[in-house]
């Protein structure tokens, strides 16, 4: 218990680096592990009388088995249906009557659950989270599963099937990762797999993954660390540990050759999506790939925005980002061609700019903009206790350490022009996926394979 009691949530240390001021981000935390294996992090922030409770289970769609895609996410829905001592449909009601907000989300690597409540309702939130960690199965019924299966199918309709370009990300994963790779299938799942999910599947999944020793709990906000520790211990210490989860190793994937495909959709403009295999979260080149994405196609001053959107006015949008995940990473670029232009032109321009960045590297200005942007965003991103709690949990879940705020920022600050040049040459010259999403009946707008190589 040696948390500083002063109110500052951000230790600011001004250091001199190349004549510029740089700020050191520090989010002070207290960390402990209960005997059942639950890892707990407490961060005090007394600015506003709110507390965030943020619980991550280290299981996402990547842990699913063939024929049961979408299960981790469907299961997330079941956790809001009421546990043994809380009662049916009471979870949302109790938090909302407390004036709190709550939700959960699932991705390939983890599932998270969170509440933001007035500080005097911390114990209530911990009671709720501990009850569904320890006492969910008694309350699960076939009727609840059937209802949430319908809700999830509607979620899929709303966010994928009925949304322009909504099926593109699903197809991209299938093209980029081989069958059997944990990132091959979509987190939302295939409709037939959702239909096939049984109540026994739900129970098995819970028993295997939803245990204190596969979870990490962060409490952040207007609470004293000692009080938080006492309450967390009270509600979670008697929950039994489960089977030790199988350790995960990075699972890099490769493409032997370019893969090209065309999707037809109810859209006005054709969109090109390119993807390359890169590196997983926290790998040494992760930050340099972030900078490369920024230089290539993030914001008005990026090279492709200037070229395609501003000068040529041939593209409606262009974007780039490094997708950093636990087991593998990829780099994606995307452009929508305006009427009168096609995706072959988009692909050629993107490959030319990749080649130019690989040849000459970024300018000093481009590097400075990327680093200053990263620094500002790192501060902007910790304005809410829920935002801080979720990042602490990401650090804990994937690196086993709670306060990597500054390390994450330093990783960007250390990137050199040569690093950017190197990662562009190393990763963005590999075989790629080239996926064209075109208006129905207009396959001629798809990107044709050309001789251009980065």
């Amino acid at each position: 218990m040696n948390l500083p009691l002063m109110g500052s949530v951000l230790g600011l240390m001004v250091v001199t680096a190349a004549g510029a001021q740089a700020q050191t981000l520090r989010v002070p935390v207290e960390t402990f592990t209960l005997p059942n294996g639950l890892r707990v992090v407490v961060h005090e922030d007394h600015a506003v009388p709110l507390v965030a409770v943020n619980l991550w289970y280290h299981v996402g769609s990547g842990r699913e088995v063939k024929g049961r895609s979408g299960f981790a996410h469907l299961f997330e829905h079941m956790l809001f249906q009421g546990s043994a001592h809380v009662g049916d449909d009471q979870h949302f009601a109790i938090v909302q009557e407390a004036g709190g907000t709550l939700n959960g989300s699932t991705n390939t690597d983890r599932t998270n659950y969170f509440e933001l409540v007035p500080a005097n309702f911390l114990e209530t939130a911990l009671w709720l989270e501990s009850d569904r960690m320890g006492f969910l199965l008694q309350s699960l019924t076939q009727a609840k599963l059937d209802n949430q299966r319908d809700v999830v199918k509607n979620e899929r309709r709303q966010n994928y099937e009925n949304r322009p370009y909504g099926m593109t990300s699903i197809r991209l994963g299938e093209l980029l990762y081989p069958a059997g790779h944990p990132y091959h299938w979509p987190t939302i799942g295939y409709p037939e797999d959702l239909t096939a999910a049984s109540l026994q599947d739900v129970k098995d999944f819970f028993a295997h993954w939803y245990n204190p020793n596969n979870a990490c709990l962060v409490v952040a906000g207007d609470v004293k660390a000692a009080a938080a520790k006492r309450l967390v211990t009270r509600y979670f210490a008697d929950l039994p540990a489960g089977p030790k989860p199988e350790p995960l190793a990075p699972k890099p994937a490769t493409l032997e050759a370019d893969r090209r495909d065309v999707l037809e959709d109810r859209v006005t403009l054709p969109q090109l999506t390119l993807a390359w295999h890169t590196v997983p979260l926290w790998a040494p080149d992760d930050a340099a790939l972030d900078v490369a994405a920024e230089v290539l196609a993030q914001g008005k001053t990026s090279r492709l925005h200037q070229r395609l959107v501003y000068h040529e006015q041939s593209a409606q949008t262009v974007s780039a980002f490094q997708v950093s995940r636990e087991l593998a990473g990829n780099f994606q670029m995307s452009a929508q061609a305006r009427e009168g232009f096609n995706l072959t032109q988009m692909e050629s321009a993107i490959l030319e700019e990749i080649a130019r960045l690989g040849k000459d590297g970024p300018t000093d200005d481009e590097l400075a903009r990327a680093k200053n942007g990263a620094e500002a965003r790192s501060v902007f991103g910790i304005q809410t206790v829920l935002g801080k709690a979720d990042r602490i949990n990401s650090y804990m879940s994937f690196r086993g350490r709670p306060d990597l705020f500054n390390e994450e920022l330093e990783n960007v600050r250390k990137v050199t022009a040569a690093d950017v040049q190197r990662v562009v040459r190393t990763y963005l010259t590999r075989p790629r996926v080239s996926l064209s999403t075109v208006p129905n009946g207009k396959k001629e707008l798809a990107a044709a394979a050309t001789g251009v190589q980065p």
Binding site: G7, V9, G99, P118, T301, I382
Partner: protein
């Protein structure tokens, strides 16, 4: 801790919230059947607003928040789409062009300068106001305010930038027809208000209006409304009014007061009531139908029923546990989410119940939506328990509105737009605390009038139309994605 020193505690809250006593002493054995008793209610802290006026007349509201080394600033100009007049979309275009070149910097140079600070700086035109928003690390405050002032005081409105903007917007207007939710929102708005009403046209204008906007129209709109005496600057963050004032004098130097057209300060009139009607837009093979049920609501500025309406909507469709969502999502599984909202404006903004529902359940979903909208008017009125549930959530959740500088600035911007006094923050809590079930039933019956509902459905008409016709909800008109009647083949 430092924050607390500069925040005032509202004593009035004690009147409306019951104080619970925390369990103190040794913890008894855990009984999970006992829901924990909440601890003492934390004092509600509200921002202390310091006001200064610049020499050009611009009012500045400052709230000092020291938790993080950043500053959030919002310049609210009292003109938006409601002032578009003969040029729908011009408020939005004018706002977009502010940072596309100034008297001293090109568009790309300006963007580069902003990015070098790592700041977020942008302008957008809303319905009744235009907002220029800045978020910056406090160590870049001088430079960031300089850029903010430059785009507000010295925009160039270059002809080639207008053409670029026009091209992007025309393309985007076509793309919006791909999106069922956007079509539904735009069509509902049009049928509720009509295209000649200040609230009737889309903020982004129409293909015809955007094609016709001339550079002089933009410059004229700017000259008329972008005046320090028609604006307020709200600053929240790591700075005091004393330190800020000279920086702002410099940043906004050269901006001069003007004669602002009177309609910028008046609320638009309520449109004439229309009988219930159904409007359908075809989206062949759509997996879902987008439903909107609405009517003109009421005014934030003028209506004392605002507080009872908050409790009503919290119960009806304002949150997950509301009647509409529990019915359509949790009981029937027709949707991923359904809701209701009131757009509280200076005039009577729309009330809208909405959701995307499974195509095969479109008619059933309409029945359930309408059941909830009808029942709460009297046949299944809000209960004492529901009223308390909603009041508790609203009151206890209130401090979340002040968690970040940006959220705090949003609360202040609402006060500014509606001319509400600072005391409204405390008054809100007191008023919500006094709302009774009969108040809610009264406002439900007054403002929700099913015989005047406009019902919009965007979906696969070949599948859904017969079921909708069988419900006999009113005359059916088929519209295109622009809201124009489709002539029968």
């Amino acid at each position: 801790m430092r924050t607390v020193l500069i925040l005032a505690v509202i004593a009035a809250l004690a009147i409306v919230l019951v104080l619970f006593t925390a369990n103190v002493g040794a913890a008894p054995k855990l009984d999970r059947n006992q829901r924990p008793t909440p601890g003492p209610v934390p004092p509600v802290v509200t921002p202390r607003i310091v006001r200064v006026t610049l020499s050009n007349g611009l009012p500045v509201w400052v709230v000092t928040r020291r938790e993080l080394p950043l500053v959030d600033a919002v310049l609210q100009i009292r003109a938006g789409a409601a002032q578009d007049g003969a040029h729908p979309g011009i408020a939005a275009v004018t706002a977009s062009l502010l940072d596309e070149g100034t008297s001293t910097r090109s568009s790309l140079e300006f963007a580069g300068a902003v990015d070098l600070l790592g700041a977020n700086l942008s302008a957008s035109g809303g319905i009744e106001q235009t907002s220029v928003s800045l978020l910056t690390l406090s160590r870049h405050l001088d430079a960031a305010l300089g850029l903010m002032g430059e785009m507000v005081v010295h925009p160039a409105f270059k002809a080639d930038e207008l053409e670029r903007e026009r091209k992007a917007r025309l393309q985007n207007l076509k793309q919006q027809k791909d999106v069922a939710t956007t079509i539904a929102d735009k069509v509902l708005n049009l049928v509720l208000y009509g295209e000649d009403h200040p609230y009737g046209h889309p903020v982004g204008g129409t293909t015809a209006s955007i094609a016709a906007i001339a550079r002089d129209d933009v410059a004229g709109f700017y000259d008329r409304y972008y005046r320090p005496n028609n604006a307020v600057l709200i600053v929240v963050g790591d700075v005091t009014a004393e330190v800020l004032a000279p920086k702002l004098e410099k940043a906004f130097a050269g901006w001069t007061a003007g004669t602002v057209a009177a309609e910028a300060a008046t609320a638009p009139a309520r449109p004439a009531a229309k009988p219930a009607a159904v409007y359908l837009v075809d989206k062949p093979n759509a997996a879902q139908s987008e439903i909107r049920i609405g009517q003109p609501g009421t005014s934030r500025t003028a209506d004392p029923d605002y507080y009872a309406l908050q409790v009503l909507n919290t119960t009806l469709g304002g949150q997950f546990t509301s009647r509409i969502n529990l019915n359509l999502r949790e009981r029937h599984g027709y949707t991923y989410g359904a809701r209701s909202t009131w757009a509280f404006r200076r005039g009577d903004g729309p009330f809208v119940a909405s959701g995307g529902v499974f195509t095969a359940k479109t008619d059933s979903s309409l029945v359930e939506f309408l059941r909830e909208l009808q029942d709460i008017r009297g046949s299944r009125p809000i209960t004492e328990k529901e009223t308390e549930f909603a009041r508790n959530g609203l009151l206890r959740g209130y401090p979340r509105r002040f968690e970040t500088p940006d959220a705090t600035a949003g609360v202040l911007a609402e006060l500014a737009l509606h001319g509400l006094p600072d005391g409204e923050i405390a008054n809100y809590l007191a008023q919500i605390g006094r709302v009774k079930p009969e108040d809610v039933t009264r406002v439900a019956a007054k403002y929700l009038t099913p015989d005047q509902f406009a019902i919009v459905v965007v979906g696969d008409l070949a599948t859904i139309r017969p079921g909708i016709e069988a419900l006999n909800l009113g005359p059916i008109t088929v519209l295109d994605a622009d809201g124009k009647p489709v002539v029968a083949q």
